[in-house]
C-alpha cells in the first residue's frame, strides 16, 4: 500500500514538474507547479512528517503559489519573445543542468557505496513517540534557538526592506482619513431647518 502510494505521488511530482517546464502557457505552468507541491506534501506524509506536509501545503500551495498565479495571470506575456530568449540562455542552462546532474550522480553514488550508516535506513518517527509538532518544537526552541531566531530576523529584515523599497510618497493624492470618517456624526454633516414659505435655505 505504502509502496503504491509512494510511486503514485513520486510519478505525479515528476510528471507535473516536467509539464511545468514544457507548458506553453505560464498559467498552466503555475498550476502544474501547484500539483507538484501538493504531491510532494503527500510524499512527506508517507515518511511520517505530517507537520512538514501541512506546512508545505499551507505555505507553498496556499500562499506562495497563489501569489505566483496572481502575478502570472496579470502579466501580458509575449510568447514569441519568450522563445527567442530560449536560445540565448541555452548555454547557461545546459551548464546548470550538468552541475545538477553531476550532483545527483555523486549523491546516488555515495548512497549506493554505503558507509553512511544510519542515513541509509528509512527515517521515520518512532510510533507512539511525541508527535511531529512537539518533537520539532522541542528542538527548534532549545538546541537551535539562535539559528531559528536568526532566520526570523532575516525574514523580518527582508520584509522591512521590501516595504521600504516600494513605499514612496506621492503628492497630490487624496487619502481618506478613516478616523475622521468614523467619528463623523450626522449632526456635523446635516442640519434640520424649517424655512418660511418663499425664503429658501442658505447652503
Amino acid at each position: 500500500m505504502q509502496i503504491f502510494a509512494f510511486y503514485l505521488f513520486a510519478s505525479i511530482v515528476i510528471a507535473s514538474g516536467a509539464f511545468c517546464i514544457f507548458a506553453r502557457n505560464p498559467v498552466h505552468s503555475v498550476l502544474w507547479l501547484i500539483l507538484a507541491f501538493f504531491n510532494a506534501a503527500g510524499l512527506m506524509l508517507l515518511v511520517g512528517a505530517e507537520f512538514i506536509a501541512a506546512l508545505l501545503v499551507i505555505v507553498y500551495v496556499g500562499a506562495v503559489a497563489v501569489l505566483f498565479l496572481f502575478v502570472v495571470m496579470m502579466l501580458d506575456i509575449d510568447f514569441a519573445e519568450l522563445r527567442a530568449g530560449f536560445m540565448k540562455n541555452l548555454p547557461l542552462g545546459l551548464l546548470l543542468a550538468l552541475v545538477l546532474l553531476a550532483e545527483i550522480i555523486f549523491g546516488v553514488g555515495a548512497w549506493t557505496a554505503g558507509g553512511m550508516g544510519e542515513a541509509n535506513a528509512v527515517v521515520g518517527p518512532p510510533a507512539g513517540g511525541p508527535s511531529n509538532i512537539e518533537a520539532l518544537g522541542a528542538l527548534l526552541y532549545t538546541k537551535y534557538i539562535f539559528l531559528f531566531e536568526a532566520a526570523g530576523m532575516i525574514l523580518l529584515v527582508a520584509m522591512v526592506g521590501a516595504i521600504v523599497l516600494t513605499n514612496r510618497k506621492r503628492g497630490g493624492v487624496r487619502i481618506q482619513n478613516i478616523r475622521d470618517q468614523v467619528t463623523r456624526r450626522p449632526e456635523d454633516a446635516t442640519r434640520n431647518e424649517q424655512p418660511e414659505v418663499g425664503k429658501g435655505v442658505e447652503l
Partner: protein
C-alpha cells in the same frame, strides 16, 4: 465499522479501504442534504427579515425548493464560452466542490464520530481552506471574460488577507487547548468557565477572538457583507458569470458546504463542539451530534442575519479591516494568550 470489515473476508487492507469509502459517503451525502436544507433556511431567514414569505410553493412550507432548483439546474445545458480555456473552465467548479468536502474529514461530529482523528487537525483545516481560493481564481481566469477576472483578483486578495488573521486566531485557541487535535480542543473546553460552561467563547480572554473569527469566517467564505467577489451591482455574478447548469451548481454547493464548515469550526473552536452548552449531567444524554448541529445552526443564523441587515463593504474597507485591524489585534492577542498560558502553567516568572 472499520474493525468489523477488516475482520470479514475482505482482509485488513481492502476492508480498511471499503470502510473508509463507506464512511466518506456517510459524511458527504448527509452533508449535501444539509446544504440543500441550509439554502432553504437561508432564504427563509432573509425573507423573514424582508417581510416576505420566502420559498413556500414546492412541498410543505416550500421545504423541497432546493431540490426543485437542483433538478432544474441539472436539466439545463452546460454552456462553455468559445473563448474559455475549456479544461480549466470545467476543472474550477470541481476544485471548489472537492475542497469544500475535503475538510469535513477531520470535523468531529461527536466523540467517536470523526473520520480522521489526526493530531494536526487544525493545520489540515488551514491547509485545505487555503486551497479554496484556487477554484475561484482558476474559474475567473479560464472564463476569459472581464467580470470573472476582476472577481478572481478580488477573491484571491481577500481570502489571503483573512487567512492570515484566521491563522493567528487558531494559534491562540491552540495555545489555550495545548493541542492541534480538534477533538482534544473540544474536550479541553469541558467545564472551562467555573467548571460549568463548556465554551472557550465565554472566556473574556478569548471572546474577542471568537467575534473576530466569526467575522473572518464570513470574509473567508466571501459571504455578505464581504461578498465583494459576487457584488452583482459591479461584477454581474462575479466568477460565476460564465457558468451554467451543473458547473454552476457545483460552485453553489461548494460555497454553502464551506459556509457550513466555517460554522462548524466556529462551534468547535469557541462554543464547545459536540459538548452541551453547560456541564450538567442530564444534558449529556442528548447525543453530541445534536448539540453540534444546534450550535452550528445558531452560527448560521448569525451569518444569514448579517447578510440580511449589513450593507456590503467597499473593497478598500475590506482590505483595511483585514490588514490594519484584525491582523494587529490578532497578533497582539497571540502574545496575550501565550503570556497567560505561560503564567497559568509555570507560575509567575519573577
Amino acid at each position: 465499522m472499520t474493525e468489523y470489515l477488516q475482520s470479514t473476508f475482505l482482509g485488513p487492507d481492502i476492508g480498511w479501504f471499503v470502510a473508509t469509502l463507506a464512511l466518506i459517503l456517510l459524511i458527504a451525502l448527509p452533508l449535501m442534504l444539509a446544504v440543500a436544507m441550509i439554502i432553504y433556511v437561508d432564504r427563509k431567514i432573509i425573507a423573514a427579515v424582508a417581510l416576505r414569505r420566502g420559498p413556500n410553493v414546492v412541498g410543505p412550507f416550500g421545504l423541497l425548493q432546493s431540490f426543485a432548483d437542483g433538478l432544474k439546474v441539472f436539466l439545463q445545458e452546460t454552456i462553455i464560452p468559445s473563448g474559455a480555456n475549456k479544461g480549466l473552465f470545467l476543472l474550477a467548479p470541481i476544485i471548489t466542490f472537492t475542497v469544500a468536502l475535503l475538510a469535513w474529514a477531520v470535523i468531529p461530529f461527536s466523540e467517536e464520530m470523526v473520520l480522521a482523528n489526526i493530531n494536526i487537525g487544525v493545520l489540515y483545516i488551514l491547509a485545505i481552506s487555503s486551497l479554496g481560493v484556487y477554484g475561484v481564481v482558476i474559474s475567473g481566469w479560464a472564463s476569459n471574460s472581464k467580470y470573472p477576472f476582476f472577481s478572481a483578483m478580488r477573491a484571491a486578495a481577500q481570502m489571503i488577507s483573512y487567512e492570515v488573521s484566521i491563522g493567528f486566531i487558531l494559534i491562540s485557541v491552540v495555545l489555550f487547548a495545548g493541542t492541534f487535535n480538534l477533538n482534544e480542543i473540544i474536550k479541553a473546553q469541558e467545564g472551562h468557565i467555573f467548571g460549568f460552561v463548556n465554551a472557550y467563547g465565554v472566556n473574556p480572554l478569548l471572546f474577542p477572538m471568537a467575534v473576530m473569527f466569526l467575522i473572518s469566517s464570513m470574509a473567508e467564505t466571501a459571504r455578505a457583507p464581504f461578498d465583494l467577489t459576487e457584488a452583482e451591482s459591479e461584477l454581474v455574478a462575479g466568477y460565476q458569470t460564465e457558468y451554467s447548469s451543473m458547473s454552476f451548481a457545483l460552485f453553489w454547493l461548494g460555497e454553502y458546504a464551506n459556509i457550513l464548515l466555517m460554522c462548524a469550526l466556529n462551534v468547535i473552536l469557541f462554543w464547545g463542539g459536540w459538548l452541551p452548552p453547560v456541564d450538567w449531567e442530564p444534558l449529556y444524554a442528548v447525543p453530541g451530534i445534536i448539540w453540534l448541529f444546534l450550535k452550528m445552526f445558531m452560527i448560521f443564523f448569525i451569518f444569514s442575519w448579517a447578510w440580511a441587515t449589513v450593507p456590503r463593504y467597499r473593497y478598500d474597507q475590506l482590505m483595511r479591516l483585514g490588514w490594519k485591524v484584525f491582523l494587529p489585534i490578532s497578533i497582539f492577542w497571540v502574545f496575550l494568550v501565550s503570556g497567560y498560558v505561560m503564567i497559568d502553567k509555570f507560575g509567575w516568572p519573577l
